[in-house]
């Protein structure tokens, strides 16, 4: 039997008291796609950072093609044949594709011969792997799907035999993700080894040959993908049985709570981000907004949340809202709008504040937090303590800084704050981004029971599965417009995927 393309033996790594990787062993054979799945904070990224020379393991050995290697830095990783595609691309925005590919791998002091060689090589790779990109396009001008291909090309140009992709589909449309998987299969067919790190069970099932599950820094199980099921993987990830589907009754919509008419937003660069959005959300229903990131969803949420200027009209419970200012966050809250923002780290929480200081963020001018002159710190702490209890935030320590909580628990703090303010309308952006499965289950349940209590909910998510399982109605955004609206029961991922790509089929032909 051939040597494994890559083998780890007993890798351990601690950060202070926290053991991020504990005695991890794994073997990946050449010419296979291997998945590594695990919740946020399970230690996947730490492990990959060790492989790529960003961290030094405390113990353990790495073998490439059966030979032990030491990887003190990323240059050594590249020399050992490892290529890495990070979640956040590492490209120079105003360089061309070609320049990015060559950067750091120039063949000599003169650029011209390197570029010529790279151009030829790029053409060959494009043919071989369906990796076609325009070598002369600037990075800032091409979409994220293309940018990701550039990252893959960069790795291949450096003769990577082992390609590691960290959460590669987070920013892709379903069609782009399919294309990526075709590329990965081509790489596999050419004998390359692919390691796919993800938290999405479906991708693991679709594309991998073997899969390893990480939980709390340990490798807890290895499976052949063909012989396992999503339920089994989820259980291994979380350590208990989980419900993958959301149980909910049909909606009983009431009066309109949010009425949006012809909303338009133009950004600082004079680019129109919202091009006349109109929608209505009724009490007791969830309107899901599907779409690839960057098609105006963020702007929509910010306008509704009161911190982006816009034209058009927004009514909440019939009351017109002021769109001419960008400091209306408190006014919106007073009008009954709760908001779980898309990015909890840069918006939903002040990371350097303790949990108790975050639990009243945005409501800090209200009683009981704010008295006549001074804030009531004791009341804030008591309130935080109670909410953290009810929403099972762990650790249950209001004094801990927000940045010290895991993603899922940070999100629970935000959700607790917004739900318990008893809103009439709840804006929810990417509620489960970077959140572990256990917390996803919990947050979804909270959203549904809030709907059942008669709250109008506007849900924005780039996860199509999430939109499909939670929404009562679904609107798809593309390029600042609503491309179409469907009843949740009467559409599917394929139809929505087309709308997300901006393709509208003639009405009636849609099945």
């Amino acid at each position: 039997m051939a040597n494994p393309s890559i083998e780890l033996r007993g890798i351990s790594k601690s950060f202070g008291p926290v053991q991020a990787n504990k005695d991890i062993s794994i073997r990946v054979m050449p010419g296979t796609i291997h998945g590594i799945i695990g919740e946020n904070g399970a230690g996947k990224s730490t492990l990959m950072s060790i492989l790529y020379g960003f961290y030094k393991a405390d113990a353990g050995t790495i073998l490439i093609d059966g030979r032990e290697v030491v990887i003190p830095d990323s240059q050594s990783a590249i020399r050992a044949g490892i290529g890495m595609v990070f979640q956040h691309f590492k490209l120079v925005e105003n360089f061309t594709v070609l320049e990015n590919v060559v950067l750091g791998a120039e063949s000599g002091p003169l650029l011209r011969p390197s570029l010529a060689r790279a151009r030829a090589e790029l053409r060959r790779l494009a043919d071989e792997y369906e990796l076609d990109v325009d070598p002369d396009a600037r990075i800032e001008e091409i979409g994220v799907g293309m940018q990701q291909r550039v990252e893959i090309l960069k790795a291949l140009y450096r003769d990577a035999r082992i390609l590691i992709l960290d959460e590669p589909t987070g920013v892709l449309t379903p069609a782009e993700a399919d294309h990526l998987f075709r590329i990965l299969r081509n790489l596999e067919a050419q004998g390359k080894t692919v390691i796919l790190i993800t938290h999405k069970l479906r991708e693991i099932m679709d594309v991998t040959d073997t899969v390893s599950v990480m939980r709390r820094g340990e490798m807890v199980a290895h499976f052949e993908t063909a012989r396992t099921s999503p339920a089994e993987l989820a259980e291994a990830m979380v350590g208990r049985k989980v419900l993958l589907r959301v149980d909910k009754r049909p909606a009983t919509p009431g009066a309109p709570v949010l009425e949006v008419q012809d909303l338009r937003v133009t950004d600082a660069k004079k680019v129109e981000r919202l091009k006349g959005v109109s929608l209505t959300v009724r009490a007791g229903e969830i309107l899901g907004i599907a779409g690839v990131a960057g098609n105006g969803q963020s702007e929509l949420l910010e306008v509704l949340g009161g911190y982006m200027k816009a034209t058009g009209s927004v009514r909440v419970k019939g009351v017109p809202q002021d769109l001419s200012r960008d400091d209306q966050g408190q006014a919106r809250r007073d009008a009954g709008v709760g908001h779980v923002p898309e990015d909890r780290q840069s918006e939903g929480l002040v990371l350097d504040f303790a949990a108790w200081e975050n639990v009243c963020l945005g409501y800090h001018d209200r009683r009981p937090y704010s008295g006549s002159l001074l804030m009531d710190l004791a009341a804030m702490r008591r309130d935080a303590d109670a909410k953290m209890g009810r929403f099972d935030v762990r650790p249950h320590d209001p004094l801990l800084a927000a940045k010290s909580f895991s993603g899922g628990n940070q999100q629970k703090i935000v959700v607790a704050r917004e739900i318990e303010s008893a809103p009439a309308l709840l804006l929810v952006g990417q509620p489960t981004r970077g959140v572990d499965i256990g917390a996803i289950e919990f947050i979804h349940k909270q959203i549904v029971s809030l709907r059942d209590a008669g709250v109008a909910i506007l849900l924005v998510s780039v996860e199509l599965d999430e939109i499909l399982s939670l929404s009562d109605r679904i609107a798809v955004m593309f390029d600042g417009r609503i491309m179409g609206e469907r009843e949740a029961g009467q559409t599917d991922a394929r139809e929505l995927g087309l709308l997300m790509a901006g393709i509208t089929e003639p009405a009636g032909r849609a099945a």
């Binding site: 991020a20 979640q87 911190y307 704010s370 895991s406 628990n409």
Partner: protein, 388 residues
Amino acid sequence: MDRMPRWADILLVPAISLLLAALISALVILAIGENPWQALLIMVDGALGSTSGWGYTLYYATNFIFTGLAVSVAFHARMFNIGGEGQAAIGGLGVALVLLYIPFPHWSLALLAAMLGAMTAGALWAFVPAILQAKRGSHIVITTMLFNFIAAALLNYLLVGPLKPTGTMETATAGFPETTSIPSFRDMFSFGDVILFRGTPANISFFVALLAAFLVWLLIWRTRLGYEIRAFGFSEGAARYAGIGATRMIVLSMVISGALAGLMAINNTMGSDERLIMNAVEGAGFIGIAVALMGRNHPVGVCLAALLFGILYQGGGILGMDTAIPREMIVVIQALVILFTGALDQMVRMPVERLFARRRARAALSPPGPALPGLQTPKPTGAPTAEP
């Protein structure tokens, strides 16, 4: 999770920085052929050895408390106000105008009015850069610094022209009326024949400074505005989301900062000089930056750091008088202290943090027993969250 215990953050790191600065200072003093130990003794004795030493030390410390607080308040909103010098100078103008043109029956009323004048003037001088930052995006560091020059030029013009009494050679305003003279430490702490703080400038403003420090603490950690300022300073995005307007935060934090810097004028202009003179601030506005840095933007820290710099100022002055060490040497020592406690703070902080992390790791590993933290403890908090 905190990287190290609070006491290490607040005391150990500044202490090590100070020690390093002292060591290098000692080397420099050795290099010019003097005895560093002797120099240290002279400095400490000059600053703290007598009530007249204390009288100067606390006078300087009062200036630095005001300017240090000014820098801290702005910094909580992540506004780097380096215009304390100019704001304090204009604060002096506010004091002078109030005391020269309004008659007061008693010093206490004069003090209150002068405080108001000083704060208003300083606040106005900070307001312009603040509004330029908020509305036009002009960088606060650049504008506040330039406003220092404008303040100096304005006072130059006023003190050789409109405000200079005819027939005098000094570039200063006329002396303030006798009734506006506030109690000095000598007036307050001398009993019968025992005269303390003889001939020193320390005055009642010192207590105003301590009160200001307490009010700043209240503002930053106990009021809604302070909460909003800190939220804005830590995360502009979260503040926007929470409906905390950026313009309001920038303007309010800077105006309060300017008012505090301006307030310094009751110490130097009203309490000591008793007239507005040229260059009355003497760099206290800039020292305030170092004081705030060293005091970690906490009023208690600011007061302690201000005292330290007061000692350096006074002790340094004595050193220049009593030894062959040139006066410029004092500037070198002060610069080293600023360099190590302010600019090179991280150089000391990081090794100390690492030391504590290593100690903690060892402590976490050592207790034997069921090494399966997964069983009881919840998720490892503050996880390495290596997920980038």
